[in-house]
C-alpha cells in the first residue's frame, strides 16, 4: 500500500498535493519521470509526473488538478489513506545539462512538474529564468518554491490580479528578445506548450515540452499514448514524456486527449450522484 503522508490543497482547492510513501520509486526516480496511480480496485490507472522525491524518507510527491472522476476520488483520500497501486518511475528522465541561459515556462499543474527540472537545471550550473502563469492569483501554485529553484522568477496572470497581466508567452517573448537563451522548457496545458513552441521556433531556440497523453500501462505495451513527433509515431510513456517542442503535433494530441471526454463526464456524474446519495 502507498500511504499518503502529507496532503495540501492549493489554488483554492482545485489542485491537490500528495506526498506518498513509495520507497522503491523514491530511490530511483529522477526529474521528469512519472508514476501511474490507481486509487482502489475499480480505479483507473492515472499517469502523473512527479513533482518531487525524497529518497531518505522514501516518499514521492504528486500534484494534480481535479478534473474528472478519478481525480475526484484521489481528492477524497486523506493523510493516512492509501493508493492501492503506484507504479514507477516511468519514462525517460530529463536530460539535465549545462547550456548557459535557460527559461522554464510553467502553467497550471505543469508548474509542479517544472519545479524539480528547474532546480536540476540550476544545480548543473545554468542561469535559470522562470516564467509561471495561472488564470488568476488564487490559482497560482508553488511561487515560493519556484523562486528558490530559479535565479529570476516572473509571474503572469490572465486577469492581471498579480504580476504581469497576460500570458506567459508575452513575457517569454521579451526574454527571448533580450537574446542568448539556449533552451526553453515548457510544461503545462497543451495550448500553452503549443504557443510557446511556436514562439521559440521564430527565435530558433531549442524547446523541450513534457506531454501527458492518455495512458494505460506506461511501459510501451499498449500504444494508447501515441503522439506524432517529427512526423513519426512515438509512445510518450517510453520515448518521452519529454520531446522536442518544435516537432510535436499538438493538434493531434489535443484531439486524442478528448477521446473519452463524453464518457468521463458521464462517469463523473455517476460518481457524484452515488457519493451524494451516500452522504444524504
Amino acid at each position: 500500500m502507498f500511504t499518503i503522508v502529507k496532503r495540501e490543497e492549493m489554488a483554492e482547492g482545485t489542485i491537490i498535493l500528495n506526498e506518498i510513501e513509495a520507497p522503491l520509486i523514491a530511490k530511483k526516480a529522477k526529474p521528469g519521470q512519472f508514476v501511474i496511480l490507481k486509487a482502489n480496485e475499480e480505479g483507473e490507472r492515472i499517469p502523473l509526473t512527479m513533482a518531487d522525491t525524497n529518497p531518505e524518507m522514501g516518499t514521492i510527491t504528486i500534484v494534480y488538478m481535479v478534473v474528472g472522476k478519478s481525480t475526484a476520488i484521489f481528492r477524497d483520500l486523506q493523510v493516512g489513506d492509501s493508493y492501492q497501486d503506484v507504479i514507477g518511475p516511468l519514462g525517460k528522465p530529463t536530460h539535465l545539462e549545462k547550456v548557459g541561459k535557460v527559461v522554464c515556462v510553467g502553467g497550471g499543474t505543469g508548474v509542479a512538474v517544472l519545479h524539480p527540472i528547474t532546480r536540476g537545471l540550476k544545480q548543473v550550473g545554468n542561469e535559470v529564468i522562470c516564467i509561471i502563469g495561472a488564470r488568476n492569483k488564487g490559482l497560482l501554485i508553488l511561487e515560493e518554491q519556484m523562486h528558490t529553484a530559479s535565479h529570476d522568477l516572473r509571474v503572469c496572470t490572465d486577469d492581471g490580479s498579480y504580476g504581469h497581466h497576460g500570458f506567459v508567452t508575452e513575457v517569454l517573448k521579451e526574454v527571448l528578445q533580450s537574446g542568448d537563451i539556449r533552451l526553453v522548457v515548457a510544461i503545462g496545458p497543451v495550448p500553452m506548450m503549443k504557443a510557446v513552441s511556436n514562439l521559440t521556433k521564430e527565435y530558433n531556440v531549442a524547446t523541450m515540452v513534457s506531454l501527458n497523453p492518455i495512458m494505460v500501462d506506461g511501459t510501451g505495451m499498449c500504444g494508447g499514448c501515441r503522439v506524432t513527433v517529427g512526423g513519426e509515431t512515438k509512445f510518450a510513456c517510453v520515448d518521452g514524456p519529454e520531446f522536442d517542442g518544435h516537432q510535436v503535433d499538438y493538434d493531434e494530441l489535443i484531439l486524442r486527449l478528448r477521446a473519452y471526454q463524453e464518457d468521463e463526464r458521464k462517469s463523473h456524474e455517476h460518481y457524484c450522484n452515488i457519493r451524494d446519495a451516500v452522504k444524504s
Partner: protein, 470 residues
C-alpha cells in the same frame, strides 16, 4: 482389438454444452460450460489407448494423454489431475486455450476417420473437477535450499518457473509490472474464454506454496536485473512476454477510435472496462467495428466488441481462411456470434472527420500469389480494387514484437535482430550469468503451452545451477 477400435472410433465426440450464440454474444460469461462426470467418462471411453500415442508426440510438453484419460474413464479424478500436473502446471488454462487441433488432437488416431478424442475438453474437465471437488492439498515441498530466485513477469511462463522452483525448496519472488499477476491470461484473454477466477486461483495456489508476488514492479525501471542480484538473488528468470503492439503504419493511424488490441483488451479485461461506469476505466464502444488480423487476439477483440454492443463487427484479413492463425474453435465461435470475415482484404489508409475521429478505411482486395518465406501464399493487391469500409472503431491485432523496456536496460543479455532474448532452446540460459529466459520474449508471440514448457525446462536448469553450479 481392431473391433474395439472400430466401435470406439465410430461413436461421435461428446459435445461440450455451450451458451447459445445469440445469448452469449451479449454477455461476458464463459462460452462452453464444461463436461459433467458422465460426459467426461463417455468421452474418455473413446480413447483407443494407443501403444505409440501420436497425441503425446503432438503435445509440446509431452503430457501422458492416454494415461490421464484412462484414469478419468476409471473414475480416478485425483489420479488424473496428478498425472496432468506432472507435465502441465496449468491444465485449467491449457484445456481452454491450447491449439489442440494442430497439437494432440491433430495427431489422434480416432480423428483419422471421425472426430478426434476431445483431449482439451477432458483436460479442462479434470482441472475444473479438482478445483471444485479436490482437497486443495498442497504438494510436498523440499527442505529449504537457502537460494533466492527472482521471476520477472507473471505470465504462464513465469508462473510455471515459480511453481516448479518453490517445491524444490528455493525462495521465489515474482516481479510483475502490472497491478495484477497472470500476464496475458489476465490482461489479454477475455473472461468469456478464460474466467479470471481460474487464473486468480492458480496464482493463489503459488502464494499458498510460499511464492512472494510483487506487483507494480517494472523491472528495468523500478529495479534492474543487476540490482536484483545485489539484493541477494542467486538466479533470475525473465518471462516478460511479447508486449510491443504492432500497427499497420498506414496514414491516419493516430485518429481517435484506432486502438491496438493490447490496449483494447487490457481496458476490457484487466481494467474490467466492460463494467464501465461501475469501474473507472472507459473503453470506446463501436457501432461498426473493424478488427485487423485473424489470430486469437483478433478473435478475442472482435468478440469483445460484439459483447460491448456493436451493431457490426468485421474481421479484415489480407490472406484467406486457410491461413487464419486463430484456433479453429475461436473462428467458429466468432462466426456463430455474427462476426463477419472480410478475407483477402487489406486496409491502405484510415479516414477521419474534422474532430480527428475514425469514420472508415480504404481497403484493397488481395489475391494469393507465390508462397513467401513462411510457406504461405503471398497476398498480392488487385489493381484498382479500392473500396471504402465505414467504421467508428478499429482494433489493430496484427501481432506483437519484443518490448525493449527491460532488455534495453540489460546490455549484457544478448538479443536477436528482432529484439528477442537469445536463450538456449533446451535450458533457457541467456548470455548473462545467472539469468534464464523463456516464453514469448524468447520465441516471439506464441502460445501458452510453449511458454509454460520453456518455463519448465528453465526451472530444471535453474535448479541444477542452484544446487550444482552454472
Amino acid at each position: 482389438m481392431a473391433i474395439t477400435a472400430e466401435k470406439k472410433g465410430q461413436k461421435g465426440r461428446v459435445p461440450m454444452p455451450e451458451q447459445e450464440p445469440k445469448v452469449r454474444a451479449r454477455n461476458f460469461l464463459e462460452v462452453p460450460t464444461g463436461y459433467t462426470v458422465k460426459m467426461a467418462q463417455e468421452e474418455a471411453a473413446r480413447c483407443l489407448q494407443c501403444k505409440k500415442p501420436g497425441c503425446v508426440a503432438g503435445c509440446p510438453v509431452g503430457v501422458d494423454i492416454p494415461g490421464f484419460i484412462e484414469l478419468i474413464a476409471q473414475g480416478d479424478m485425483t489420479g488424473a489431475i496428478r498425472n496432468l500436473w506432472s507435465k502441465n502446471a496449468l491444465p485449467a488454462v491449457c484445456g481452454r486455450v491450447c491449439p489442440q487441433e494442430v497439437q494432440c488432437e491433430g495427431k489422434c488416431i480416432v480423428g483419422k476417420k471421425g472426430e478426434p478424442v476431445a483431449i482439451g475438453n477432458l483436460e479442462r474437465f479434470c482441472a475444473d473437477y479438482e478445483r471444485e471437488n479436490g482437497s486443495g492439498e498442497l504438494p510436498p515441498k523440499a527442505s529449504p535450499t537457502g537460494k533466492k530466485v527472482a521471476v520477472v513477469g507473471s505470465g504462464p511462463s513465469g508462473l510455471t518457473v515459480a511453481g516448479d522452483l518453490i517445491v524444490k525448496g528455493h525462495d521465489v519472488t515474482i516481479y510483475e509490472a502490472f497491478h495484477k499477476p497472470g500476464g496475458v491470461l489476465v490482461y489479454g484473454i477475455p473472461e468469456f474464454r478464460l474466467p479470471k477466477a481460474i487464473v486468480a486461483q492458480e496464482v493463489n495456489f503459488l502464494a499458498r506454496l510460499g511464492v512472494s508476488i510483487q506487483c507494480n514492479a517494472v523491472v528495468g525501471r523500478t529495479v534492474s536485473l543487476d540490482e536484483l542480484f545485489e539484493e541477494g538473488y542467486d538466479a533470475i528468470y525473465v518471462g516478460v512476454g511479447a508486449g510491443l503492439p504492432r500497427f499497420m503504419n498506414i496514414p491516419g493511424e493516430n485518429l481517435v477510435g484506432i486502438l491496438s488490441a493490447n490496449e483494447y483488451l487490457t481496458r476490457a479485461n484487466l481494467m474490467k472496462a466492460y463494467k464501465y461506469p461501475e469501474v473507472d476505466t472507459p473503453i470506446p464502444i463501436g457501432k461498426n467495428v473493424v478488427v485487423l488480423g485473424a489470430g486469437n487476439v483478433a478473435m478475442d477483440s472482435a468478440r469483445t466488441a460484439m459483447r460491448l454492443g456493436a451493431e457490426s463487427v468485421k474481421i479484415v484479413y489480407r490472406r484467406s481462411r486457410e491461413e487464419m492463425p486463430a484456433r479453429k474453435a475461436e473462428i467458429h465461435h466468432a462466426e456463430e456470434e455474427g462476426i463477419e470475415l472480410f478475407l483477402l482484404t487489406n486496409p491502405t489508409r484510415y479516414l477521419g472527420n474534422d474532430r480527428g475521429r475514425l469514420t472508415g478505411m480504404e481497403c484493397l482486395r488481395m489475391e494469393l500469389g507465390e508462397p513467401d518465406d513462411s510457406g504461405r501464399r503471398r497476398p498480392v493487391a488487385v489493381k484498382g480494387s479500392e473500396f471504402e469500409l465505414a467504421c467508428d472503431l478499429c482494433i489493430v491485432a496484427v501481432g506483437s514484437g519484443a518490448n525493449p523496456l527491460l532488455t534495453s536496460e540489460t546490455p549484457d543479455m544478448q538479443l536477436n535482430r528482432w529484439g528477442n532474448v537469445v536463450a538456449n532452446p533446451r535450458t533457457g540460459k541467456t548470455t548473462k550469468k545467472g539469468v534464464w529466459a523463456g516464453g514469448d520474449i524468447v520465441t516471439g508471440a506464441a502460445t501458452v503451452i510453449l511458454a509454460m514448457g520453456a518455463g519448465r525446462d528453465a526451472a530444471d536448469s535453474m535448479h541444477d545451477y542452484l544446487t550444482l553450479g552454472w
